[in-house]
Amino acid sequence: MAVPTYASPLERAWHYAYLVICGLIFFFLIAPIVVIIPLSFNTEPYFTFTDKMLSFDPDGYSMRWYDSLLTFGMQRPDAPRDLNWWADAWANAKWVNAAKNSIIIGFFSTLLATALGTLAALGLSRPEMPFRRAIMAILISPMIVPLIITATGMFFFYSNPCTLLGWFGLPTECGRLAGTYLGVILAHATLGIPFVIITVTATLVGFDQSLNRAAASLGANPRTTFFRITMPLILPGVISGALFAFVTSFDEVVAVLFIAGPDQQTIPRQMWNGIREQISPAILAVATLLVGFSIALLATVELLRRRSERIRGITPH
């Protein structure tokens, strides 16, 4: 995009002004995320740059907030760092526990959402699919319905999931799913499903159905066709859908606030508590780690997208 040769001086001036404006907006997008990174190394418990930090004095910087993530909630945080200390941290440190929970819940909910979502996307992209639009609208709705409403509905449902059986005259008491790992996993899977559906159906839009017919005509049964032909081609879409589902679960706090018990503290919930109660720069250390995490995910999705485009470039249309 360059200024055309016939542009008047005013238009040239506007063009440069426009570039400056765009630069400022990019700054607005990125600066808030970048600014917390140096602040997380602050020696002082402040949320702003100290004079020492500004003069790049090494004394102004420290790892103490990262260290406090490891020790917070431990029984003996100041013990010498031997094997027992690490065992103590692994078992008791609150942020370590939150990370473990986030990963367990994220992993299983992603697995569930991806498996069900990919299957459904395959059905939805078939030309014969009845009620396609309506079903699609229902499956996407967990992304659109305000989280607080979803969480409220889930709160009642997971407190006593068997009320449904009352319709069939069966007993309506069968324990709770609220406060269990299974409950949180199911809830997060529900929230991750729209992302899997969207990414996988988008991949299938460019999918050449005659490949399936070719495989069938060469004698492959539907299962072989799926695993040898379809799956490798849509895999990049499936993986990026799974990453979206994982991030959704990893970042989700409202449903966790409503249905998780004290055993299912996740990273976002621990952050939520931290921000509301005793705000300490340890939050910034967590935030910095999460920014690193999202950069890694972004890079993965980008690589997958390119790979998908390359594979599909080979497919004849």
Binding site: I33, F47, F49, L122, E128, R133, P146, M154, I275
Partner: protein, 432 residues
């Protein structure tokens, strides 16, 4: 071998006999029926693939929300535990003065509810309509356990004058059937007076309408801001050569992929009175050290943080539409003598409208339901309707009220969602 399930294969095998004028497949079946059957089978197979997920979403999402909404018009807290008085209300039309039978029914029900320990539930239900009456029920219940003497009217009025309050009797009449519209009335700042007429609540108690208006107004403002900020960025990304624009796209996608709580935390750090922005302004001499700006824990905080968080949702759909706009149209307009502003206004901008519509609807839908960010940076003036639903869920425990507010919010979001589906098509939603 041709696949029998494939309709095209069925057509391909048409060939044999035309004896009675109908086309037949190789094995002699009428073609139309064979085609219809294989179509049905293909539809069933497609549907079976979707079925597990559809069942899952219905059970874990649609039905729970339906059940929750049921609470907004169904509450049997009073009617289930005060059967005799409920019966009296059913037998006597509105406006009947409570007679001796009514007072006796009330005394009986209070005694049995107190013995069953359900008086608290009853009191809570009435308390929703007439604040401050829960203690009236529980304290009367304590005395009722020792037995109430007739004449009940005088006994109860001796215990507490409030039993004679016509508003209380009106509220009890409303609660005597499990189905009620009262929570929706309350959610729109209305109530019933003694005679059952619908009236507005006192001015200082009107909060919900104001909060709905604020939610929609702030969402609209945030949508407009994301448009103003997102449009130039999307345009730049769409007109730059692919390699450069992919690089810049990372600057849009990084915030999109960054945790919501991280971004909210960043804004808390930046906007605080002792925070980075205020420090910079003081250092530049724009403001004095004593006049540090209050940019957080108020509406300003909510607007700034939410604009930042929702900006990528505007940029991405705008960008994908702008990519497809043919630049030669603008060049043609210029060569026909249009100024660059006219060319933009009359040729380029109209072509971006589909993307603009998609982005604006998406941002608005998401903004209306926001909870986390306003709760953390909104203070009291930056709270949205979601925060009040959460308040009723976790603090006041008025779940029916939360459900009524949620129903109103859900209704408006679903209307917008339907619009989005009509205008953009939900299958065109893209994520990066």
């Amino acid at each position: 071998m041709a696949n029998a399930l494939d309709p095209h294969a069925a057509v391909a095998t048409v060939a044999t006999g035309e004896t009675d004028g109908t086309l037949r497949t190789a094995d002699g079946k009428p073609l139309a029926r064979a085609l219809a059957r294989s179509q049905t089978r293909a539809r069933r197979r497609a549907f079976l693939l979707v079925l597990p997920l559809l069942a899952f979403v219905l059970i874990t999402f649609v039905v729970p929300i339906g059940q929750m909404l049921q609470r907004s018009f169904y509450n049997d807290g009073f009617s289930a535990h005060m059967p005799e008085l409920s019966q009296w209300f059913a037998d006597n039309p509105r406006g009947t003065e409570p007679d001796d039978a009514a007072w006796a029914a009330l005394a009986d029900d209070l005694t049995s509810a107190a013995e069953d320990r359900t008086i608290g539930i009853v009191g809570t239900r009435i308390n929703y309509d007439v604040p401050g009456t829960r203690s009236l029920f529980t304290s009367t219940g304590r005395k009722a356990k020792r037995g109430l003497e007739p004449p009940y009217r005088e006994t109860l009025l001796d215990l507490d004058d409030e039993w004679g309050d016509p508003r209380l009797w009106s509220a009890m009449r409303e609660a005597s059937t499990p189905f009620t519209t009262n929570f929706y009335l309350a959610a729109t700042d209305r109530t019933r007076d003694e005679s059952g007429k619908i009236v507005q609540v006192e001015e200082r108690q009107r909060v919900y309408i104001m909060l709905f208006m604020r939610t929609f107004w702030l969402s609209l403002l945030i949508t407009a801001l994301t448009f103003v900020l997102g449009f130039p960025i999307a345009h730049l990304l769409a007109t730059l050569p692919m390699r450069k624009s992919n690089l810049l796209m990372i600057l849009v996608l990084l915030p999109f992929w960054t945790s919501l709580l991280v971004r909210t935390t960043s804004w808390m750090v930046l906007l605080q009175q002792q925070g980075v922005i205020n420090d910079v302004l003081v250092w530049l001499g724009v403001i004095g050290n004593e006049q540090r700006l209050q940019m957080i824990y108020n509406q300003a905080g909510t607007i700034i943080a939410m604009t930042h968080i929702l900006l990528p949702f505007m940029i991405l759909p705008l960008y994908s539409v702008m990519r497809t706009i043919n630049p030669s149209y603008v060049r043609a307009a210029r060569s026909l003598g249009a100024t660059s502003w006219t060319a933009f206004r009359r040729v380029y901008f109209p072509q971006t409208l589909p993307g603009l519509g998609a982005g604006a609807l998406l941002v608005f839908i998401l903004a209306v339901g926001y909870y986390i960010t306003p709760a953390l940076v909104g203070g009291s003036s930056g709270q949205l309707i979601s925060n009040l639903i959460a308040l009723h869920m976790t603090d006041t425990l008025n779940w029916s009220m939360a459900a009524a507010l949620a129903a109103l919010l859900l209704g408006s979001v679903l209307i917008l969602y339907w619009l989005y589906d009509r205008m953009v098509g939900i299958d065109n939603l893209k994520l990066g």
